[in-house]
Symmetry: C2
Subunit: 400 residues, 2 copies
Amino acid sequence: MRVFITGIDGYLGWSLAQYLSARGHEVAGADIYFRRQWVEEMGSWSATPIASMETRLQAFHEHTGKTLRFWHGDLREYELVERIFREFQPQAIVHLGECPSAPYSMIDVHHAVFVQTANITTTFNLLFAMHNVCPDAHLVKLGTMGEYGTPNMDIPEGFFEVEFRGRRDRLPFPRQAGSWYHWSKVHGSNNIMFACKLWGIRATDIMQGVVFGTRIEEMGDDERLLTRLDFDQAFGTAINRFCCQSVIGHPLTVYGHGGQTRGFLPLRDSMQCLTLSVENPPVAGEYRVFNQFEETYNILELALKVQKVATELGLPVEVQNLENPRTEMGQHYYHPDRQNLIDLGYQPTHDVEAEMRIMLQDLMRYRERIEERRDILIPDIHWNGPRKKVHLLSSEPERV
Amino acid sequence: MRVFITGIDGYLGWSLAQYLSARGHEVAGADIYFRRQWVEEMGSWSATPIASMETRLQAFHEHTGKTLRFWHGDLREYELVERIFREFQPQAIVHLGECPSAPYSMIDVHHAVFVQTANITTTFNLLFAMHNVCPDAHLVKLGTMGEYGTPNMDIPEGFFEVEFRGRRDRLPFPRQAGSWYHWSKVHGSNNIMFACKLWGIRATDIMQGVVFGTRIEEMGDDERLLTRLDFDQAFGTAINRFCCQSVIGHPLTVYGHGGQTRGFLPLRDSMQCLTLSVENPPVAGEYRVFNQFEETYNILELALKVQKVATELGLPVEVQNLENPRTEMGQHYYHPDRQNLIDLGYQPTHDVEAEMRIMLQDLMRYRERIEERRDILIPDIHWNGPRKKVHLLSSEPERV
């Protein structure tokens, strides 16, 4: 299948290109290297030393014998998107080309506006170019479990059937996102749902959990094929950040008392699920939603797991409770469904500790790179308040 | 109360400035005259001959003895919004400064992107400036009943309590808008709801029905105080368009068989409701939703009412069924609540025909202006398809 990946230079994008190619798909992609700039803006860099796209493409060619078509450009420009689609004629588009950071969107009004308008514009351009060029193609859009927030009931996959004053209807499940970024994903989901209804576009909207992991098998031993791995407050997600902290002996930074529960999944599971979605398109006009995660965990539990594995590897490390810079509930009900991908054949990893072990072993090689950026490990972007480093909490857990 | 109106040069904005001022409020506003440009882009103009803002402000001063502060500028620039708020220190902000047209947003990708990004950016700038300058002020945001779409159940005011798999929660009522414009309003509502939760902003989100009417009492006989009245396919809403068509003997253009049911309200009711909202702010952190309409009507019923009143005034006119350029249900359940404004004292007009009579009498004076733009009365913007004039339908009503 011809698969076009937006944001192919990113954490998931570069991994997915290799994963799909290894499964016989013809992969192409575009990127404008925003992620590299944003992480630099946060004073950080990737823990893994990532090669330039030119070098990546060269290494990819050496290992696979295949040429990956790449466009360096800004997908906020509609004409570029339409030109790419006319040239490549994609059968599936995996849309990873959005700003993926909640804290980045919470810095100030300019970042909030940037994240929402950039994400909306790029998704619009893809939808219109599909409609105009390849109306039978399938859009696989990366959303986030964070679109749902933490309602006091089970979270279905996108839709639920409810009764209200004696009448029943199947309705979109209400979204209650927790940052401007997460709302940008909701806006995108809404626009895609409408495009499916309006034009008969087929789309899979992936409500993805938090991804962790340094590698997939396809990367082998060639450092040029490695994907990025961020550990700053804006682009470094919980487990990735904890693993980076472990290898330099920095206390694991748990926000609040760590009772926040979320869905998580290893990078290899994310690849498996995205590929299942690509290979099993919905019918024309169908907008389907997949919740995608291996299991739900709370943050403290994950920090303790990383601590355990790190200690076994000779990396003793403390767990530290920090003032939570976010506005979120410390304890809450959390039971999302994730049946749709299981039905398509998703086999969850389940061995999270094994995955953490691989990560720590990978990251130990890049200890100096993380050490050099040690000063950015304490967050300073607050959901409500000016930028300043958060303070340590006493160890009393909060009771809700 | 110090009330700042965004989009004060528009249909509702210029009316509201006069209405609020007559009730003792200190009014200021901003506009960049986009509405005048958009209507020109549609090949049309206001049926009423509208004065320049300079002339309007002069007339306003002559009649009231008051000076209305006005900023000519683009509220997509955050620094301007913050500067205005620092100078004027608003206690309420009535946000009418958005692109309000579904057909305009459906023209092509560039219009879709413009409508959504402009509407989102302006609302963001207001929210951040409130947070930074006047956190106790009250945002009255104009949304639309179209945010809800036409679900197969009653439509509550913003939120509903439902049970799902044995657990109950109060959730935002799911939105199912029917155009890129309507979705831009949903995106705005979602962002405002989150700002209230995040920063303790107080906001009233008005899900307004379709407004009709040429005047409010405050405009008196001075033509310089008249508000605009559009009749083109993008900015002319149903009753306004029908009244303009009547005075030049053009058949009333009903899309499809006119079974679409919507909430409507006269301009004077809109002013009454917006003022009630301004004068009764919610508590800090409260995000409340008001459904605002006088009554629900279907489009054919309204065309027949306009036809009846026009005939009584010596303006015989046909009703014509046109191919519906929109994608919407021809027949559907429609029972929205509108109790919140009634509880605040809203007294609906109920005499729609009397309002139509006033409109027709006003518009007869501007017959030549409408006649000059006769060629734009048949729509050509399709929800799904290239631009071309719609065709006439046979008179058989559709059965659903």
